[in-house]
């Protein structure tokens, strides 16, 4: 069954989009990620213009993160003060990102920039995760326990000024890295249409030494609001949010996520991380392939007034 997307101005298959949303939702539920980094490339592979894929992806991230954020809110595992500081940075980063987005689009380099960012980030994060999880699997076989958090160990971040106390995280740390991290995530959210959890979570754990029990909740809290803000700014500046497309992805996504979460409970943490790493690397490779292999046509057309 076909459906016409009013903003993308094209006909697409409803079943394909629902399945795409459900598959990504399943994976995001299983791995506890937002799924934006899968949705946006998949939409691009499905010939949705990248500008629309990114803005609509940000909208879908809101729906896929709200459910997780709510359950963390109920459990009380969100550090609101830390989350709000991250969000402040996120709003700045996202505003800059949407501006850069519009600029790149006008000079015809947006698609390239999106692909490059995806390849670089997913390649790096996926590679690091794969190495880390393989080590963890080997350690688990060897039987040595390992803790992610190493308290007492200080790095350069703890020497920065403007320190602030975050009670829920039992942290006393400078706000500069917190706001900078939020800004980077906001920037990526607006240009890549991702939530940024795959960068946020490791950064909070390894750089800021936030206790693992509040990491995911705080990250989700920030992602929901940064993605919501990004959606609104994209809608206002570029008019590239396709609500019909977003809604189809959301329906598939929220349904898939609940089943994915169930499936995820049966797998071990490090195995899950290794699988996620492979998935992330696969998406990066697929995008890199498009960059390096001669395209079917060297020419492309862009209408100036519309999309």
């Amino acid at each position: 069954m076909g459906i016409y997307l009013p903003i993308a101005e094209m006909s697409v298959n409803v079943a394909v989009l629902l399945a795409m949303g459900a598959a990504v939702g399943f994976l995001s539920g299983m791995f506890g990620v937002g799924g934006g980094f899968l949705i946006t490339p998949l939409l691009i592979f499905y010939n949705i213009p990248p500008a629309i894929a990114v803005a609509t992806g940000a909208n879908q991230v809101v729906a896929s993160s709200i459910s997780g954020a709510l359950s963390h809110f109920k459990k009380g595992t969100i550090d609101f003060k830390l989350g709000t500081m991250l969000l402040l940075g996120g709003i700045v980063g996202s505003t800059v990102g949407v501006w850069v987005f519009a600029l790149l689009r006008s000079i015809g380099q947006l698609d390239l920039f999106i692909s490059l960012l995806y390849v670089a980030l997913l390649g790096t994060v996926g590679g690091m995760m794969l190495v880390e999880s393989i080590r963890a699997i080997q350690r688990a076989r060897g039987g040595t326990p390992h803790s992610l958090r190493r308290p007492g160990q200080h790095n350069w971040i703890h020497r920065l000024p403007l320190k602030m106390r975050f009670r829920a995280s039992k942290l006393f740390v400078s706000v500069i890295p917190v706001i900078a991290l939020g800004a980077i995530i906001g920037f990526l959210a607006s240009i890549m249409g991702v939530g940024g959890g795959f960068i946020m979570v490791p950064a909070l754990i390894y750089l800021l030494k936030v206790p693992t029990n509040v990491v995911v909740g705080t990250s989700l809290f920030q992602i929901v609001f940064t993605a919501a803000y990004t959606t609104i700014v994209h809608a206002t500046t570029n008019q590239t949010v396709d609500i019909v497309l977003a809604f189809l992805l959301m329906i598939g996504g929220v349904a898939g996520a609940q089943y994915g979460a169930k499936a995820g409970q049966r797998l071990r943490g490090e195995q899950l991380r290794a699988l996620l790493a492979l998935l992330v690397l696969a998406v990066a490779l697929r995008l890199a392939y498009d960059l390096f292999v001669r395209p079917a046509s060297l020419y492309s057309l862009t209408s100036i007034s519309g999309i």
Partner: protein, 265 residues
Amino acid sequence: MVRRAVRFLVLALIISLAGAARAQAPEVTNPESIQIGLSTDRVIITSDFAGADLTIFGALDNSDPLVTRQGRYDVIVVLEGPARPIVVRKKTRVLGMWINTHSETFVNVPVSYSVATTRAMQDITNPGNFRQMALGAENINITPMNRDGDPATLVEFTAALRERKKATGLYSERIGGVQFLSQSLFRATLHLAPNVPVGTHRARAFLFKNGVFIKENSAQLAILKAGFEQRVFRTAQTHSFLYGLFAVGLAFVTGWVGRFIFRKD
């Protein structure tokens, strides 16, 4: 007063004389003409739109039965979309990657251009005539914004523009798309691509006799999005902030409701 009456009389005389001359020698004035009619003046794009065929009926007036019998009348029907500025970009290899490096802007490119003909274009008349009439996807006037650009580059980008438009189905040609139903009645079937742009399109019909252009006629066709699609599109353009707010609200509600419906614990 009198003078004016005289002048009127003279004028009336001249007109009646001309009328008499025409009545005496009808074959000299070559009065064939072509009419087309659209069954509708608007096509609505609904949510299940996946391309469509548009049928245009037309008639020849005062056609010569002898020429008709020999099949020497040819009709070309064109449906031309609104003209918009377009940027054509070319990728070249930089550091192993294919990157947009060159671009050329054209100011008045018809967004779509679909042609239906009675026979292959080259069998109707010679290419020079088509070029002179700017008829056919190969011959439409495409004006570059930078007129002083390198001619070879402009030729290359213009060709690429046409090739891309054909590849996406927006420029199409259907040989045999125009069929004569009777001596004077014909039917043209044109293709509307799934990505046909909205706006005012112009249907034009051209009549050829023995390879000579005789007459042209045209009609307007509005292609619109259906109520819902149109409203979404309009809202996104005019009330973009509220639209964004609504999109976020929808995401909140979907995520929240989905949690209750699909919760497995």
